[in-house]
Assembly symmetry: C2
């Protein structure tokens, strides 16, 4: 990628806002009662040690995530911060080319290459210490 690519928006959609919760069922129930939001997709993401429920909001999702392994990063997040917004996922056309551009532009990356996400997506995370405290996930939908 060349430098002029920064003039083309790379983020095509807010894919999801991820919220870490202790009790997934209670959170699903709350969003149903309060906002009529229903589960569009549910998945045990073994690699990340979490179970997730996606509630559709237009072309985006509220992603409720709850730890299913004690040593998962989401379990540690809950211990340190309690429940709350965990990260934001942005849709991109290509995780690999976005990572390449970010690397050249000096971003601090968690994942140096794309890896499997839920729903058959490819994802990669950008480190919050280099991005104003925000854990950013890049999501490529196939």
């Amino acid at each position: 990628m060349q430098a002029d690519n920064v003039n083309k928006p790379l983020l095509t959609e807010i894919d999801h806002i991820a919220i870490a919760v202790s009790d997934l069922e209670s959170a699903i129930s709350w969003y149903k009662t309060m906002f009529g939001a229903t589960v569009a997709h549910r998945e045990m993401v073994v690699r990340d040690g979490v179970e997730e429920a996606l509630l559709a909001v237009a072309d985006s999702y509220i992603q409720l995530i709850s730890p299913r392994q004690r040593d998962s990063s989401v379990a540690k997040f809950l211990e340190r911060h309690g429940e709350g917004i965990h990260h934001v996922g942005y849709r991109v056309d290509s995780v690999e080319s976005t990572l390449e551009h970010l690397r050249e532009a000096g971003a601090r990356l968690i994942d140096s290459t794309g890896r499997p996400g839920s729903r058959g997506t490819t994802v990669a995370f950008v480190h919050p210490r280099g991005s104003f405290g925000t854990l950013i996930e890049l999501v490529e939908v196939h």
Copy 2:
């Protein structure tokens, strides 16, 4: 509103993901360099003691907010938590009718009625203690 309204989705779009930053110019510059994101709207929101910059992502925004008054809630957030995701804003058809439903359903509200937001919107906040640690803003676009 009747109880059956929970079957109709009330959240029509992720309006914005709000990120509290100390230095607004640096954050704007970072999102431009990394993602080619540009400022669609910028406003001094005197009532909230913040300056905001909205970066468009599809029909949603990244809302960068930076305190312009020392006693603003965002200034306190930065002191306690540092930079990071501050809240999520969801678009609704009507803030008042959504608040009425939330009140009946037992949600904990910060604003009991809609108030002016940026961009000429009407907004209201739901308390994070009643919503799994997530500060939720309802946004009605006129």
